[in-house]
Each structure stands twice: as C-alpha cells, then as structure tokens.
C-alpha cells in the first residue's frame, strides 16, 4: 500500500532522490557489480560519493552559497580531469563567480565582534564555500547545509537498506 501522504514532488528530498538514483544506475551500469576488488569498490565508492554530493548540490541549485561552492568545486574538478586547458578557463570563471557570490554575501571573514573565531573557522572548513562568509551568513548556510545533509543521509540509508535488506 502506498503511503497516503505523498511528499511534495518538488521537495528537496524527492529532487535529490531522483537525481541520485539516476546517477546510481549510471554508475552501476558502467561496471559489473561482480567485480569486488578493493580498488574497484573504492573507485565506485568515490563515484557514488561524488554523485551524492552532486545530486544534492543540483537539487539546491544556486540558491545557497554552499551549493554554489560545491557545484563549482565539482565542475572544476571534472574539468580538470577532462581537459587541463578547459579546467583553467572554467576555473577562472568559477572563481569569478565565487568572488561575486562572496562579495554579495559579505566581506571576507573577520571577527564579528562575537569572539568565536576558532569554531567559526572550523565550521567554515566543513561547509563548502564557507571561507567567503561572515559568521552571520555562515550560520545561515550551516543550517541549510545540515538540513540537506540529513535529507541525503535519510535517502541513502533507505536505498542501502533497500538493496541489502
């Protein structure tokens, strides 16, 4: 019996689920699952992890600083792999975008007079794109990032359970 309560099809969860499943099937289709060498598994693991991050970032689009930063990171990484030249070019544009976004949001990190610089720095390292945010926006982004991470974990857990039950 289907759940009588249907989640909003445009909710973050559904968006992420669709994207991630698609990526998963693509990854699975690439290589046979039977191969169980550690390197293979590790490679697949990396790919799945990237796919998860990517699906999440794409689900959020560019609404958030951290999603923009993550997308930029992923794109630059993929560009670098494919073509060093294009990577440089894309890197420049990406950096321009990042700078623009950072300017929009706030000045460079600084002590906001609150005195939580150490923790704030640590948080900045955790949240993608956090270096360019001031504490105020950092907390904002962190809250949204936590929400997306929990969604990601939920969905992935369900998928894993489904597969392995």
């Amino acid at each position: 019996m289907n759940n009588p309560h249907h989640l909003n099809p445009t909710s973050l969860k559904s968006r992420f689920t669709t994207r991630f499943l698609r990526a998963l099937t693509k990854i699975r289709a690439q290589k046979p699952i039977s191969s169980s060498s550690p390197t293979e598994i590790f490679r697949r693991y990396r790919r799945i992890k990237v796919a998860a991050d990517k699906s999440m970032a794409y689900s959020v689009r560019s609404r958030r600083i951290w999603s923009r930063a993550m997308l930029w990171k992923l794109r630059s990484r993929s560009y670098r792999r494919q073509d060093p030249c294009s990577g440089r070019r894309s890197g420049k544009t990406s950096q321009a975008i990042m700078k623009k976004s950072s300017n929009e949001n706030t000045t460079t990190r600084r002590e906001d007079g609150v005195g939580f610089v150490e923790e704030a720095d640590e948080l900045r390292q955790l949240v993608p794109g956090g270096e360019t945010m001031n504490l105020c926006n950092l907390l904002d982004e962190t809250a949204h990032y936590i929400k997306c991470l929990t969604t990601q974990v939920q969905v992935m857990k369900k998928i894993a359970d489904f597969y392995s039950f």
Binding site: S11, L139, D140, H144, I146, K158, F162, F165
Partner: protein, 555 residues
Amino acid sequence: MDVGEKDKYELEKRNDNSLNYQTSGMSSAWQFGGSNLTSTPMSLVSSDNPLVIGSSSASASMGDSFCSNLWEHPSNSQNLGFCEINVQNGASSSNAMGIGRGGPASVRSSIDRPFEMGWNAASSMLKGGIFLPNASGVLPSSLSQLQTDSAFIERAAKFSSFNGGNFSDIVNPFGIPEAMGVYARGVGLMQGPQDVYTISGVKSISGVESQRSKLMTTEASRDLQAENRATQESPLKNERNSGSLVRSNEEAKQGNGGSGNESNEAESSGGAGGHDEPSALDGTAGESSAKVLSSKKRKRIVQEAEVDQAKGSQSPVEAAKDGAENQQKGDQNQTTMVNKTTAKHGKQGSQASDPPKEEYIHVRARRGQATNSHSLAERVRREKISERMKFLQDLVPGCNKVTGKAVMLDEIINYVQSLQRQVEFLSMKLATVNPRVDCNIEGLLAKDIIQSRAGPSTLGFSPDLSVGYPPLHPSQPGLCPGGFPVMGNNADIIRRTLSSHFTPMTGGFKEPNQLSNAWEDELHNVVQMNYGTSTASDSQEVNGSQPSGHTKVEL
C-alpha cells in the same frame, strides 16, 4: 530514521526540538544576562524559565516550520538573513501574523496571565526584572505619555513600517482608534512580540518571531509572550537608546494592550500605577543606568530586568486594582513600561535622546550604548547571529541543554562532521552492495523513498521475485498480476508490475520452485530467473519466507 514525509518529519522534529530548543534558547537568553551581571538575575532567570518553556515550544515549532519553509523558498530565504528588506519580508511575516491576528484578544489575555505570573515570580527575585517591550496592556500610562510625544509617534510609524505587513495587518483588525493607531500597531506585536523585536531592523528576528506570533494565539502564547518580552528586551536593549527603547517599549505596551478596549482600560489603570512607580523606578533605573553604560548587551538585559522587576513588583499591586486580567496585564506592562519610560525620561536628559537613525536598518541605540553607527551595526549583527544560533540549536539534536555560543558551535561542528561521515559511509555501503534490479530501481526506489514507506526490506523482495509469477499466492497482495504472461522484456514487465501493483510486500513472498536457484540467479538476473522458473513453479507451492531468509543471508 523517521520515514515520514520530509515536511511532516521536519515539522514534527522542529516541534519537538523547539520545545527543548526554545526553552533552552530562551533560558539561555535569560541566564545569559543573569550570569554576566549578578547572581540575582540568574536565580531569577531560573524561576522564569518554566514559564518560558511552555510558550517557547509552541512558538519555536511554528518558527521552525516557518523557517524551514523559508529555506525552501529562495526569495524568502534572503529575507531571513537580511533585515534591510523590511517591507518585502513583512509579507512573509504577515502571514504568520495573520494567525496571530485571529485571536488578539485571547492572545492578549493569555499573554497577560503568564506575563503577570512571570512578573510576580520574577519581581521578587530579579531586581530589575526583564524589560519586556511588548508588555501587553502597558499602554495606558505610557500611552498618555506617548501621545504627547510626537516624536514617538513618528518613531512608531517607522516602527510599524519595519514590520511591513505585520503592522499594517495588525492594525486594521483591531480597529484601534486613531490616537491609538500608532500604538495599536504594537498590538500586532503582542501576538508577535517579535515585531517589536524586529524594530531593531533584524529581519530574521522578525521572521522568526512573527511565526511565534502565530503561536501566540495558542495557550502557550502566554508563556511565550513573557518569554518574548524578555528576549525582545534584550535585543531591543542592544539596539536602542534609552529614550528610543522606552518609546519602543511604550509602543510595544500599547500594541500589546492594543485590543482597543482593553488597552484603553489598561491605560487608565496603568496610568495610575505608572505614576506611582516612577519614583521607585528612578532608584532602580539609576542602578541600571549605571550598568547600562557598560555597553554589554547582557548587562543591559539584567539591568532592564532589574528595572522591570521593580516595575513588576509594582505591577502586581496595580493588578490588584483591576480585576480583569487584561487590565492587569496592561498594568504590568504599562506600569513597567511606564516606569521605565518615566525613569528613562528622567535620566534621558543627560543621555542622547535622539536615537541615531540608519538608512537601512532603523536601529536605535540602546540606552547607554554608543550611538556610533558601527556599534549599532555590530549590535544588529550580534542579534542576527544569536537568532541563527537558536535556530541551529533546534536543528542539531541534543543541543538544547547546551548553553553558550562556543559550545553550541562545537556541537554544530561535530554534528556536521558526523553527517558528512555518514554520507561517506553510506556511499561506501552502496558501492559494495549488489543491486538486485537494475532497470527499474529508479522508479521503485523513488516511490519508496519519497513516500517513505517503512520496511524497505519488504520492498526488496517483492518486486524482484513476484514479477511474472502467476501462481503467486493471494497472500502476496498486489504483486501477482494473475496470470501475468511471461514476457521477454524483463524491464517492461518489472516496470509494469511495479507501477501497477507496487506495494510493499509484507514478507509473505511466494517463490516458485527452485527457490535457491532463483535466488542465486536473481542476483545476476532476476527477471530471467523468474521467467525461467515461472512455468515450472505454477504447480509448486512456494515458501517464500525461507528462501527469503536464505537469500538475505546470501545477500
């Protein structure tokens, strides 16, 4: 993990968390000021917490849900962060306020009670009490004073403009007379004490509080009001001069008492009380003013709390005069407000009376605070940060008891790290697990996951094995197409079956003969296996439970 809809889950989670979070947040606000200044306020804070807890939870939950909605809407999300966009943001908050508007009278009365209780409890302990600008019903005495203050009216007008929709919406339903019109806006604040709170120009605060105002209508609103007042005082203190603060308080009072008649009555009663208090207040105000000069926000809170306490102690007396709760509330608010106002007026001679006005955020310097634009902006920023910290406290589980920003931040960092590690672990798990069905996994899982049905294990079995099994026992609901013809296209069959009869199998999975073979083959090619054994399985009973178990082990 809760599999319910994300929205519901979040809402529930937020509601649950808000209970803890709000109380902790509120209590921390209380304790925050207390701990810094003197031991007295701390004890007072603890006493007030119980009152605050009840209300805060309700508001917090609403606030959280609202905040979560804000997350999803990019346009609004900006509002959360930026106070400058006052007008537009008001729309979002006005929605929240709409609910609050619905029961202004009830809210006010409810607010009065807890406020009164809070005051009575706190007055004895807190010296200054916590100044609650939103004190409902404090209008009367302050109102009279305010009326004479044209500048205040101007500020009130500005004040209302900050809240944007909130104020305007609030004003109309109450039908407050013109004279009260300006103050009546504060009424909206009653339901949304955050409105007053937002005067400082902190949009996020208003947004969150406007949600709280929604809850104000609930019974918990009373406590919330008391709580909000306290919290509002703190942010207000930070951002306003004594003069402006007093005025804003008056506005809040008026707003609170606002429900037209009530406020009028409160005014009259409060006015009497207010006059009596000023003298007492002056004494306390003197102390508080000295403290206020410290430029610390916490000190302010304590000072104001002390002042409020003084007022509060007087308010009960006033309350005795008026039988009606509203009046009492008004008295308390008014007297406290008035006392503060009068005391402040007295002191204001020396202090800057004109609050500095910024272009974007109309922040008023608090009493004793430097009116430098930098410090004002800093204060606003600090307010924003504390608001966000409270929101995060709600998000991160187990942070309710944690007080203090540094520890909170550490908790948040740990939580984010753990979530990231969990994602890595799960992706590793997904990399090692063997997919059972490749083709339709997406549709199947999407349905399953998005609908968040419980028991993923049941789902795992049914789709793969039941497909193409006409002889499936009736115990397998939904998956037996009844004479489903064997088809060559596995994917099509699976999809059709799943889409049409997709239901979580409750375990009674019937397999044709050769279960073990089917299971093994299934790993590699489930559909083919099904087809291969379907013909032979017709006559055979399938004991799905065992093979399922075995399969599980194998898998």
